[in-house]
Symmetry: C2
Subunit: 305 residues, 2 copies
């Protein structure tokens, strides 16, 4: 099958008929910042009316499922809390189900939302909020460590600081300490082509200091799909992943054997996808989507017909 | 010539006779933390009495030349301010002589010592000290930037924070903004096998966010030796570099064509050096020293004889 095909005309219905579930990334796909993509809520409603499972998967770790459901409601989307998989929630699930840390404590470089999702699965955290420096290097190296801490967890943290970096490093040099990150996105894109540093910068900073690699749970790691699949009984071969980023959304689809659709309302372009396709590099081929659309609103005619 | 030879007996005098200048790294070589290496000050005095130029080259960016001279004096070393090349000073020299930024301003992620060395060569800075977060992502992306800033400079900064990372990234996405780092050491080793995160972690964090590579001035970049050579008329072929780190000190020597001596009172081991030698990898061969000693005190008998 030829890849990176524009999805239009009769092909839209054909592709939608071939799937039972549709996974949507959020930012750059159904909204941009605080503005819904025109037509997106109709697309989601019609997919549901047509009997499709619709699920949202986002690498953003700054919101709980509840906060996502509230934002969706505000922007006019019909979505339940259980249908949203953010990395704050998925990270908590990973620590509970894969690492078996229920009842334990972690050192968290991350947001209040992450602390809440951890608490909801019975994991305590230390570390959230500001942590300013004082003293001298030898004091930093001898900073008191909580003996109950079993893992260092890194997500987006606007209070990231040298002291947090140091504390994470000191925990991670202890034998047996686990190391989990939410995602590796290096930038958080905003309205008007602006961006701010993403979790990937912070995670890489901690990895460099600790001389260790973290396990990440966000896209393109398959754990995020495993999490969705186990709760919704999604069959990979009959699932469509819709996203605006080739390196996270489309790669996740490739890793997990999903059909993939790139939408051009966000970060990546068709030219980016074609460059991957022409590279002849096996790893980059995983970033070539099956299909692309200008906007997910392009799915509307087939759903309304 | 066979490399990684133990320097002892008659060979010590032979090697010392073949050089006019000796460059010493500081931490792990002439001192460890706040303790002088036994015999180090005598070695330095005797080298000078024997007519050798003795110069100190350190990647640490948290001290001015004056602060180094004071520390040396406290620990019993005979050294003038002009004989010490730290990365705070060398970075200022690089910005002045290579970048032509005298009379300009830079955004500094770094220490007060760096600010002082910049000021001493006529470069203003903004950024030193704490910079805590407030507001939301769109505020961060639209943070006011100083239009006079011509470069982002990254050194060791105990006040490193997400807001500083963000500010550096916003400057670096402007066309023409230069990007200079002091050094890439990922850890700052301390007494008792302890360590804290080094400048390399912070620099890599900013590089990841900015999607750009910085030019670094510290070891193993040849600028540090150029700086010494231009001020002291040092001839590379008749200069010995003494250090405890293969990746910075010994690599600098290889890059600049100096003779190299590893001392085992610091970070690297003979086994590390031998592993590089046996790797057959061209880049790693640059990290194999010509000679090694247990401590620079091993040079004493030849100097006293």
């Amino acid at each position: 099958m030829s890849k990176c095909t524009r999805l239009s005309g009769a092909l839209v219905k054909e592709v939608l008929d071939s799937v039972d579930s549709v996974l949507f990334d959020c930012d750059g796909v159904i909204w941009r910042g605080d503005q819904a993509i025109p037509g997106a809520s109709q697309v989601i409603n019609l997919l549901k009316e047509n009997g499709k499972k619709v699920i949202f998967v986002t690498n953003n770790s700054t919101k709980t499922r509840k906060m996502y459901a509230d934002k969706m409601s505000t922007l006019g989307f019909n979505a339940k809390e259980e249908e949203v998989f953010g990395t704050a929630y998925c990270c908590a699930m990973y620590l509970k189900t894969v690492c078996g840390l229920q009842g334990s404590r972690v050192y968290l470089v991350g947001s209040n939302a992450m602390a809440k999702e951890l608490e909801a699965v019975g994991i305590q955290q230390t570390g959230v909020g500001p942590d300013h420096i004082s003293g001298k290097p030898l004091d930093w190296a001898n900073v008191p460590l909580d003996p109950e801490v079993k893992a260092v967890v890194v997500g987006f943290d606007e209070h990231f600081s040298y002291m947090k970096l140091n504390r994470a490093m000191q925990y991670l040099t202890q034998p047996g300490c686990l190391f989990v990150g939410t995602n590796r996105d290096t930038r958080l894109p905003l309205e008007g082509g602006k961006a701010v540093p993403g979790t990937g910068c912070l995670l890489q900073c901690v990895e460099t200091a600790a001389q260790r690699q973290a396990q990440t749970v966000g896209k393109p790691s398959h754990f995020m799909f495993d999490c969705v699949a186990s709760q919704f009984g999604v069959e990979a071969g009959r699932c469509l992943m819709v996203g605006d980023r080739l390196d996270t959304d489309i790669m996740l689809g490739s890793v997990c054997g999903l059909k993939t659709l790139l939408t051009l309302t966000g970060v990546s372009t068709v030219e980016d996808a074609q460059a991957h396709q022409q590279s002849g590099c096996a790893e980059r081929l995983g970033m070539v989507p099956d299909y692309y659309v200008e906007s997910i609103a392009d799915l509307l005619p087939a759903l309304q017909g």
